[in-house]
Amino acid sequence: MTNGVETLRKVTYREAVREAIREAMQKDTRVFLMGEDVGHYGGCFAVSKGLLEEFGPERIRDTPLSESGFVGAGIGAALGGMRPIVEIMTVNFSLLAADQIINNAAVYLHMSGGLFNVPLVIRSATGGGRQVGAQHSRSLEGWFAHIPGIKVLSPATVEDARGMLWTALEDPDPVLIFENSGLYNMEGMLPAGAGAVDIDRARVRREGKDITLISYSASLFKSLDAAEILSREGIEAEVIDLRSLRPLDEKTFLDSVAKTHRALVVDEGWRTGSLAAEISARIMEGAFYELDAPVERLCSAEVPMPYAKHLEEAALPQVDKIVDLARKMVKADG
């Protein structure tokens, strides 16, 4: 801080996550990071680069390729009084740990009648768009958001990448944080004193009156770009960043729909049984009489992610598609 003006500095999303981990490790000796390649390699996405040297191999703990084993170990360590951050390299591999996440982490508190809570944080990269094929391009956040007992976060901005981790570590229950791998290189401005942020409310990232674009993670920026283009045509889109996928802050998007009377959900997950479907249903339940047009969804095409660049781009939600759809929804005789 200088002259009462907060100093802003430019950081990448990756650096923001790393700072968050470092700060948590410094603040609380119970915190440790565990996962594949987090130590000697420096993290698959270089997020934990340098942390091994700083904190040592006990607290920056490389694991074998045993997702179920080390996620379960994270649960056990959390039960045993630690505050583990378990990194699952990408959401695709979370399927190998789904038993531990869903059958143990999510239900321990409930099955024990409230005796045992699991203060575990799992971080995982997610998303497509990097031409890495069907097995490495999934967006399964919405799947996990289906499960009661866990919380699912989706930080899109560097501020949230920096601030959500600590709040998640302070949460008594398991929290999954999904970082879109396409965002790690994104730069953003961070106040010098940036720290913990709430993890249960959505944010209006752009105000508008004609249509609400509801989005999260990397799709947020596509929605913001689309809103900018729409604005030049006289259509003012309100853009909402969900931030937390479970619990869903429905008040924020219902309030917005009550203002704009139109909603378009932009979700990198597949359409069928998706988070977008859930949001659409909530709007129908909570704002039916506010709707002046059917809720629309722009999701990934229902194919495993193809490798070829043009096909992958066609499969993912893109700015021009958002603009087209929003325009149709707002314009008369659309």
């Binding site: 440790f32 074998p64 084993g69 170990a73 056990g76 045993g80 009084g81 059958n103 409230g114």
Partner: protein
């Protein structure tokens, strides 16, 4: 590393009080579960009910090796473990009744008994699912320099799961204080070990992770106790995880609704001759450590305990339906 062969009961001097305690413990489990079967037939208990009948020596012998601060992770056949660990028969039965005074408030049921005071981290109903958690509990102890041991029970079926191998590898790699106890009753539900395992000597699998492994006669409470004590001592001394295969047999069906088509009567009868309670009773009598009067008193006491437990469970209350969505997320934040 070579695994050691099945150990025989040591004929060393046996403290009478301790011997009677072991016998009483096994009888407590047996009688509690007899009552469970009865209550199940009468529809007081519902869901799945997996009884430990015949395997009592394993839980009693192994748990005898632990301290109050050690942690226990068990399977869905865990009534005996909870009882011997110190959860009251009343709280266990109340849980099976589904009542809110049950040890898991009726949220868990027979397969999910939990107790924080005794560090009983639950019956886990996913085969193999408890092993990684035991690894993590031990990791927490190690990182916080606590002298505790985590004891993890699982069946022979779990050995086929990936989580078994991942967990043993992790525990060995990180030299964690875990005692892995395989309750090998020869059947994964209704499929015999010989139909599922290429290598039937389970202790060898653990040995392949450089974990000291022993197989022990799981029908012999003294043998189990001795092996467990030796293993726990080593684990507590910082030697890393140990593995104990307890060869045992369940006399009753896998669960209540089981026609037992997969094994013969003769096989069951043959194993029943090795009933851990019967054989231990005979051992004690032959050594002059147990009289008929002692046995009658044990049975009488246990009968009273079970009677009181049933009365307690009957008198317990149902959690209000308005509380349905509690315990999905914690109601208070923590430090």
């Amino acid at each position: 590393m070579k695994t050691k062969s099945t150990r025989k009961t040591k004929a060393a001097a046996l403290d009478r009080d301790h011997a009677l305690y072991l016998l009483r413990s096994m009888i407590r489990i047996r009688r509690l579960e007899d009552k469970c079967a009865e209550l199940y037939s009468a529809m007081k208990i519902r869901g799945f009910l997996h009884l430990y009948d015949g395997e009592e020596a394993v839980a009693v012998g192994v748990l005898e090796a632990l301290t109050r601060d050690d942690a226990v992770v068990a399977t869905y056949r865990e009534h005996g473990h909870a009882l011997i660990r110190g959860v009251s028969a009343g709280c266990i039965l109340a849980e099976m009744y589904g009542k809110q005074e049950g040890c898991s408030r009726g949220r868990g049921g027979s397969m999910h008994l939990f107790d924080d005071k005794t560090h009983f981290y639950g019956g886990n109903a996913i085969v193999g699912g408890g092993l990684p958690i035991a690894v993590g509990l031990a990791l927490a102890d190690k990182m916080q320099n606590r002298p505790n041991v985590t004891c993890c029970f699982f069946g022979d079926g779990a050995v086929a799961e990936g989580e078994f191998h991942e967990s043993l590898n992790l525990a060995s790699l990180w030299k964690l204080p875990v005692l892995f106890v395989c309750e090998n009753n020869l059947y994964a539900m209704g499929t015999a070990l010989k139909y599922t395992q290429a290598v039937m000597d389970l202790a060898r699998k653990a040995a392949s992770y450089d974990i000291p492994s022993h197989a022990v006669d799981g029908m012999d409470v003294l043998a189990v106790e001795a092996a467990a004590k030796q293993a726990v001592e080593a684990v507590r001394a910082g030697e890393g995880p140990h593995f104990l295969e307890c060869r045992t047999y369940r006399f009753r069906a896998h669960s209540m609704f089981d026609a037992e088509l997969y094994r013969t009567k003769a096989e069951v009868e043959e194993w029943k001759k090795r009933c851990p309670i019967e054989t231990f009773t005979q051992t004690l009598k032959s050594r002059g450590l147990l009289s008929e009067a002692d046995l009658e008193k044990i049975e009488r006491d246990v009968e009273g305990e079970i009677r009181e437990a049933v009365a307690f469970a009957e008198a317990c209350t149902w959690e209000p339906v308005e509380d349905l969505t509690r315990f999905v997320y914690s109601e208070r934040r923590m430090s």
